[in-house]
Symmetry: C2
Subunit: 363 residues, 2 copies
């Protein structure tokens, strides 16, 4: 096995010990809470890592786009929830083809949105499993909790739709600045969605699945009575944002970017060969502050161009041209989407070279 | 030829009439100024578009990474300047292999930085063309103007180095909020670099090439006496940032993203199937303000998640689920790097489907 030093830079490294521990920890949490774990595989987009999640007890995977589902079904996965409103005739056609090979479900928050997919499945004499998206406070997609019973009744009445439950994603957990705030959002997420499911049932529509999400909120949301499933994604890798949120420590972060100092044009400035093309421009959450941590250093990445990561060198630190550094990115999921390959590393040796097979599947 | 309506979304469209006009306009400017045009192909990463630039009179291409040069040399390009400090033994090895098939030059701003490449070429009995990077005010990489003669003398004395000139990139033009400010940065860029070249010559080091860059600054920098070459990149596509800078109008923007409204959960909110995975998180320049213009609409993309573009719907405007919109991104170059394919469109028909062959070449 090659040593990490042999890799050209920039390169995305995945610490296998940390990855395995993160996968086991979340699987254990879900088991303890008595809920199914359906990790969002957008974080890694790597079938090999999805298999590790299933082996640890995950019930299936979550994804967002039909193109991602195609990659994972081709890789042998047979139970996928597209936690996204899948809209339009072309995606309906592709989903129908996939439906022969896997158990599929999709998200929806309107009749108009699900009409093409429902119509295609109905015309083929089949139905598609649908979960109604509920807004638990993120204000992105999803119906308001009070509108859920009426929308659920209408969706359940559509030919081609098999309405199985409700789901939500408390993305606003990423805006909380204390662990207590994150926990409160998580608890509210679980309790809100369980109450919505009860209200829908009360309106005469059966609800099997009550599915919550997000790495910061998951441990708090999954323990709410009535929740049946949890869909965290980022936890496999973690990142600088999770550290800043207090969700984990730096030692729990599996993904780093190995980069080289290519220029030290001034005493207070050094430049890496990793810019936004490698790290993305995503801000640190909850409070913006640089473009990634430099492991073992106090200096931060102050700004990025596409191919340049500009370090504001702290007094007392020095960087030299040719030196290598490990960057902990602000947001691991988007880093995955920028790279064709990630390297699984253990004890300084490259144990795996994984293709990010579902990278760039935008549609 | 298929109509654009047949495309699934999100999809990246390139208006061929606008693309051809942009290429011709910049080529005409360079001709009029009497300088060579060496467009930075990072903007498109598409060999077919590079060929259009050469056909319009470009002398060669600029790129940043060895992996990009490999793609373009494989596609038949034989004159490439890597406008980047190329550091390290592995890149040196790959460059040496490429050097058999193309005329190559690289950037450098230190002896340490260029040592591996120079050593590899010298050991093979050859030399690599090098341009010294000068900082004309962007404060990223490059030596200070006053340090250029001494660094140039040292680089010129390194075995394996053939020092051919100086180059700069006035990226700080993107921080200017008026066309006059942009013009002033451009003029200063050209004059500063020409003066540096004279000072280096005065120190006894010959300088053939005096190369300036950036789409906003190019028209102003290329007319400075002594400038020999210009390296704008973004001009082929333009984007919302160029419009905001006053560099061009919306009708000069060739690249747009076709997206679908997938959710309208509230009267003041609509959600597109294009998020940061499609548009990137790059901010509008010079003044941040949303994540892209919606063509023909007043509403803006207020926030992005990876797969969601959240529109803040202006009073009086309405979006419906299933409707398609054209998004003018903040930054076209990074959009190219997120997609495997772009579609060349004319008169509503798809005339070309181009692979973004140099996408994701980070090393």
């Amino acid at each position: 096995m090659r040593p990490v030093e042999d890799l050209d830079t920039p390169a995305v490294l995945v610490d296998l010990d940390v990855l395995e521990r993160n996968i086991a920890t979340m699987a254990g949490r879900a088991r303890a809470a008595g809920v199914r774990l359906r990790p969002h595989a957008k974080t890694h987009k790597v079938p090999e890592i999805g298999r590790m999640q299933l082996a640890a007890g995950a019930a299936g995977l979550s994804l967002a786009k039909v193109g991602e589902a195609e990659v994972f079904v081709d890789a042998g996965f047979d139970d996928i929830f597209l936690a996204y409103p899948v809209v339009g005739a072309e995606k309906a056609r592709r989903l129908l083809a996939l439906g022969d090979r896997a158990r599929l479900a999709i998200g929806a928050d309107s009749e108009e949105g699900v009409r093409a997919v429902a119509g295609a499945f109905h015309a083929a004499g089949r139905s598609i499993d649908v979960l109604l998206k509920v807004d638990s406070g993120f204000r992105r997609v999803g119906v308001e909790p009070e509108a859920a019973p009426e929308t659920a009744r209408r969706l359940a009445g559509m030919p081609g739709v098999s309405l199985r439950g409700v789901f939500t994603h408390a993305g606003h957990a990423y805006l909380e600045s204390t662990p207590g705030g994150v926990a409160a959002v998580g608890s509210s997420e679980g309790e809100t969605l369980a109450a919505v499911a009860d209200a829908v049932r009360h309106a005469g529509v059966p609800m099997e699945e009550v599915s919550v999400g997000s790495t910061p909120s998951a441990p708090h949301a999954m323990t709410a009575p009535g929740v049946t499933e949890c869909r965290p994604g980022n936890y496999v890798y973690h990142d600088a944002s999770q550290v800043s949120l207090g969700v984990c420590a730096e030692r729990d972060c599996a993904l780093t970017v190995l980069a080289t100092v290519v220029s030290v044009p001034a005493a207070d400035r050094a430049v890496l060969d990793a810019g936004s093309k490698t790290l993305s421009s995503d801000a640190l959450r909850p409070t913006p502050g640089g473009h990634g941590f430099l492991m073992g250093r106090r200096s931060r990445l102050a700004r990025l161009s596409e191919e340049h990561g500009v370090i504001a060198v702290e007094p007392g630190e020095r960087f030299r041209v040719g030196e290598r550094v490990f960057v902990l990115p602000n947001h691991a999921c988007v880093v995955s989407n920028l790279h064709d390959v990630v390297y699984g590393v253990r004890g300084g040796r490259i144990e795996a070279e994984w293709r990010v097979a579902a990278r760039g599947k935008v549609a």
